[in-house]
Symmetry: C2
Subunit: 454 residues, 2 copies
């Protein structure tokens, strides 16, 4: 053993080992676990090709900050060498003046391309597209196209999708796959190996959800982004998978009743997280205050029949739970396009009997619970306990039905007024149902208990 | 106009138009909207190649039923011609005796392959893999591989990923892409155009979530399924996208507090849907009954200070909402592997101050609400209204903190005992927090109001 070998601590050894070999995705994962300063040091010491590979991975956290920390000439060389869509991602999140400085140092054609991508709204097809795709004029042969692909292969994000444009107008005519080319006859026209139909395309403003739907439906490896018949760029399947994962995260966060975080949970600043959570929590709290108003207006009844209060939490939560079920079903069916906006009445016609049946089931369970407790002497609900049980049972039928109906209609309403139906979070539905639940409960009580307790 | 032309109604015209041209995915969509009998008629009338294309689409609803309705010889010809993974999907969902009859009519090698795929549990990598991939011995040249690919192209699901196996042991050595092949020198060894590292592989039992993670992390077009070093099949990116969409649906349903539906909402039978929803709803209802017990044990306090009941719904829902936020954050961070099981204490250390701050914010809002109502004479909370306000404020701090902490710990606990953390639905968390919320509220009230109201 060489006793002059530098003494490396365990972690450094582990990092060095991973950086040295292994898939670039694993290197990125290792870098993500390092403190910012160490990551920058490691990046600076890397061969340039490796650096480009690493920055091409969307999984690299804090890529804009890391790029900014590199020496400026190295940073602009990096932006030039990386794939255009990732370079745009990085520039999009850079603050001024770093963004303008870096853009200024790039070659004019690349700068123009990047600026045009940056001009599109975040999440749109054009904002995540790459301009590094293969397109050939329609008068080329299969052989000439293959030769061309061999030449440009290194600078294209994918060469598996090939777009054929009119040689004069540059309008997109057809698309084909490399597999058709390599089995084709080199002398034939490129059009002869393309399916005889207009390619599936998206517009620059198509949103992520529709991109995912199109690529999943048509089993494509890339989707061309087309404006006025001309192809601007392509969105590749790996970018779509990444945006699908991001979209799911946002939906889960929203469904939990908060704003979506855009950073990993453990890396997010404390204050930023409070901000994202406090807003919705306060909004829900303020709406839920209506329950206090509702309770106040039934104060007289409450004083006369305090036994009614015992079941308030139980009854309210049942409404919220059934509403949350209905909401999640409808949100997902809308997202998958199983149903459209116009189907609201079909859904209502389904949720009405569903709610009645579910409510009756809970109602029977509730009545049994009260009867059992009374019967075995576990609690004394007073001389009118049968009426109390009937009140709880009937209220449950009403509340669960109302919960299912309103929970299922809320996503439609949100979509109708232009919001994402996924904002109909479980807490939102529960809050909506809570106030009405109280009103239903006390109204039922007034009908059943009038003349006895009330 | 020819007056003898057959009179077609509008819908039939539309269907015929779509079936005639257009992408197979659009044909499938049109078929899904037809009644079963019409769909079968249309399918029987189609050219066989088109039929195979249609059944190769996983989006075709009720594919097993449709296949079963075809004449048997046509059905077995269809299963032979379609991709192996889709044929396995269809057979998996067919009931006996149709399944055995169809399997029996297939050629023995295909039957063996299908039976081995069918033997793996649903959702595992092996159950969705296809055996139609390209693998070549490591002593072949680039040119020979290309010739081979040209020959087998039509029978392979993808030819873009090429797997290189040891010519003697058949063990998987390397993987490469078609793009490397077409730019390579035809005389060179196939190994010369493969990256010099062990390919990313999965085992036959890898679950869908990990498949999606691997394909997204390494930006692959296909993942090889390997058992004891030998490649059994591949899972392609389009299948992974489909399973990701399915997985999201299941998560949303579970997050809404119910069992995941495995059929589209509008097509699911009424009773089946009641079953999927009633189970969880009843379980939640039974747990929530503990709130009635908790309320009963504070009956004395309730009678003395009925004003306390006014804020019960408000306080309980705040606990549920903060818990639901924390749960959704942790579920997603666990799914994305941002945190692991061992990080529970880190999360707890983050949620504790977060809960305290959020609770304090809500507490202040709550105190303001009571003060304003009292001040402007909107409601009279009695002579001790300041103490009531203090009780509500302090209880909110306690309950929101408890909600955030328990909501964030629940997914860890579920994962620890082997459940899917995504089962920690918002209703589940709310129920958990409700009972404790009541106990916290009344305990705080006993401390603050002792000697005055209580």
């Amino acid at each position: 053993m060489n006793e002059f070998a530098p003494v490396l601590d365990d972690e450094a050894v582990a990092v060095a080992r991973v950086l040295d070999s292994d898939h670039v995705a694993d290197v990125v994962e290792a870098l993500n676990h390092e403190p910012r300063e160490t990551a920058i040091e490691l990046l600076c010491a890397m061969p340039f090709e490796r650096l480009v590979d690493i920055f091409d991975q969307p999984e690299l956290e804090a890529a804009p900050e890391l790029a900014e920390a590199l020496p400026r000439p190295k940073a602009s060389k990096l932006l030039t060498a990386m794939s255009v869509d990732r370079a745009a991602d990085i520039l999009r999140e850079l603050d001024e003046p770093a963004r303008s400085e870096l853009l200024g140092a790039l070659a004019p054609p690349l700068r123009t391309t990047l600026l045009s991508i940056l001009g599109y709204p975040e999440g749109s097809a054009a904002s995540i597209m790459t301009t590094e795709f293969v397109s050939v004029p329609s008068d080329w042969t299969v052989g000439r196209t293959l030769d061309y692909i061999r030449k440009v292969e290194r600078t294209r994000e994918t060469i598996y999708a090939i777009y054929i444009v009119d040689q004069r107008t540059q309008l997109l005519l057809r698309s084909t796959g490399l597999r058709r080319l390599i089995t084709g006859n080199p002398e034939d026209s490129i059009l002869s190996v393309a399916p005889d139909r207009v390619p599936v395309t998206v517009t620059p403003l198509t949103d992520r959800e529709n991109l995912a739907r199109a690529i999943s439906k048509y089993d494509l490896l890339a989707l061309p982004v087309v404006d006025h018949g001309r192809i601007l760029g392509i969105v590749t399947v790996d970018d779509i998978i990444d945006t699908m994962i991001e979209e799911t995260t946002e939906d889960v966060h929203r469904f939990g009743g908060m704003e979506a975080l855009d950073e990993p949970y453990m890396k997010m600043g404390f204050l930023a997280m409070i901000q994202k959570r406090a807003g919705w929590l306060c909004a829900l709290f303020l709406s839920e205050m209506l329950t206090a108003n509702a309770m106040q207006s039934y104060e007289g009844e409450l004083e006369k029949a305090i036994v009614l209060t015992l079941f308030i939490p139980l009854i309210m939560s049942s409404g919220g739970n059934s509403g949350s079920q209905a909401t999640s079903l409808v949100i997902r069916a809308l997202a998958l396009r199983e149903i459209g906006l116009g189907d609201w009445w079909r859904v209502a016609l389904r949720e009405l009997p569903t709610g009645l049946v579910l409510g009756s089931i809970l109602g029977v369970v509730g009545i049994c619970r009260i009867t059992l407790w009374q019967y075995f002497g576990l609690y004394d609900y007073g001389p009118h306990w049968e009426l109390i049980a009937a009140t709880v049972g009937a209220a449950l039928v009403g509340i669960v039905t109302f919960g299912s109906l309103s929970g299922s209609m809320l996503p439609f309403a949100l979509k109708r007024i232009g919001f994402d139906p996924a904002s109909a979070s479980a807490p939102f539905v529960a809050t909506l149902v809570d106030v009405t639940g109280l009103v239903i409960y006390f109204s039922v009580a007034l009908v059943i208990l009038r003349g006895t307790l009330l």
